[in-house]
Amino acid sequence: MSVPIMEIRNATKIYSTGTIGSGKKVVALQDFNLTIDEKPATITTIAGESGSGKTTLANVVLGFITLTSGQIIYKGQDIATMNDQQRFEYRREVQAVFQDPYEVYNPFYRVKHIFELAIQRFKLSKSKSESRDMIEDALKVVGMRGEEVLEKYPHQLSGGQRQRMMVARAYMLKPRIIVADEPVSMVDASLRAMILDIMLHLRDDYGISFLYITHDLSTAYQIGNDIHVLYQGMVAEKGDTPKVIENPRHPYVQLLINSIPVPDPNVKWDTSLKLPSEEEMRASAKSGCRFYPRCPYRMDRCLQALPPLYDIEAEHQAACYLYDEEAQPAQAATQRQTQR
């Protein structure tokens, strides 16, 4: 029986915009649930486009913003009610790698600063040489050598080097979970593979779980275990990554996967695929399914209430009424699938 290390329960984040009292609210994340097991370590993908709530989720897990409602339970303790000691431990054990490998370095300091600050604050070592060994050790995991890079300033390193050092820093703190927020979207293709490979290595050999936040389904497909595809703050489809990506069932996820440019000049986009006007695509339904305005299979029912997650198969769920077996068979969507 697996023990969860982190549980996200009904996480909801609502932002009020405009001046106080105008009452305009934006739901960034709604009723999000996720469990990460203690063992074995996994890479869980949170995929979505801009405005899907994936970055909100990352910020919530990292403690940069607080939830409007719902809980994040870490080792049986709600992070909102942790005492200082527990919070300190949580800080160290839940680390992050961000999108922009330049922004995360303070330009004033040499790059070793990111390691030294963490060692100092978390009191990880007793002596200079001990911390030096720790840093070298971490750098070795990402295939770098301290003497070549540590004394340099951030702008003197390449983007790939900077991002690998960020991973090394996260690893050095011996975290249990690393939130990787678009870690490869700003590195070059040839280095992308290297970073993803390091992630796999950390998962398999060091038991570090990842929350891989991305808009790029292809990299998720290559390395991820479970995937949650978000659309405007809601989970549209979730499950085992190959199952979801090879056989997407939610109309949004189908559209999304269909729109990824195939890196094969012999398989051209079928230009016949028509998309609704963009205003329609932007507008979300006031109640009911968020994807209603864009959905080719929309039904009256979709407007009445949010569709819950329906089981498609083992480890594969989609939030769409097409898969409500009690109501009607989901013919339309399956037909579409076979066409694809």
Partner: protein, 351 residues
Amino acid sequence: MTTLQTETNGAAPAAQTRQVVLNVNELRVHYNTTRGDVIAVNGISFQVYQGETIGLVGESGCGKTTTAMAILRLIQPPGRIVGGRIQLEDIDLAALNEKQLRAVRWRKLALIPQGAMNSLNPVMRIKNQLGDAITTHVGRMSKEALKQRILDLLNQVGLPARVYDMYPHELSGGMKQRVCVAMAIALNPPLIIADEPTSALDVVVQRVVAQTLMDVKQRLNVSMILIGHDMGLQAQLVDRLIVMYAGNIVEIAPVKKAFGTPLHPYTQLLIASIPSIKEKKPLKVTEGLTHDLRNPPPGCVFQLRCPFAREVCRAAKPPLKEYARDHLAACHIYDQPALFPDVQQPNLQEA
């Protein structure tokens, strides 16, 4: 207008005349820094034919955007064009002064810049922005004719007529990007340069904009240079691919050959590292860094990362040679195959 008779080699289809729209010859761009010149573009040559889409790909810092800026003569100090010829139709771009350049930009040569949608003026209605672009280059025209022209442009990029009266903030990213496409085609230029025109957009919107771009391009039969790093998008959109590495062109190939039988090891690496959504494959990890662009080592630019590099690669720079019809590469493996007995030669005559 220049015409160029392409060389045909036996198996290839009958001789065919293609009009060269843009001819870049030995273009060289340097950037001044306190520690010497960075060679951003190192004497590159290529042609763009009438009606074709050229993809310009490579890592960040390989010189692809610099190349585009040099063609537009928009290189800012500390950068400067050190040498080379840029011939657009019958105009020698390198020889023009600032005033003549202004006349040529937009009318002959339009740019869709990176993050173009942020380049729209937030306090001007779309009609005025498009109108200004047209009138400054074509001269005054009647209000009715101008309006008709703008509406026609909006229609061409698939935007509804009411966009005419709107402000940029009322439009989504994809719509703004299409307004920029409309601006680029406003004066029917023979060549459009698009620098990562869809990079900041969501996947679905990216597809809409990319398709719009291609539709328009086909309808107007203009040529286009599409700069980008997304190989998937390149595969979908371009006819020929130019692969750059560290300021040099390492391969020029028709897109199907570039993806099917890439010649240069760097192109091979680039193609192999595209994450696929169709099949799960082991990640291909390569080590190695690009050399310092201030003082390139003698020999091949890719030698530090090339899995096949050997003595000849460190000694001499391989020439960019045509190995199959329209398929050029700069690599000793094909130039001097005798030195690479262990490397399998691809079947170049294949389709």
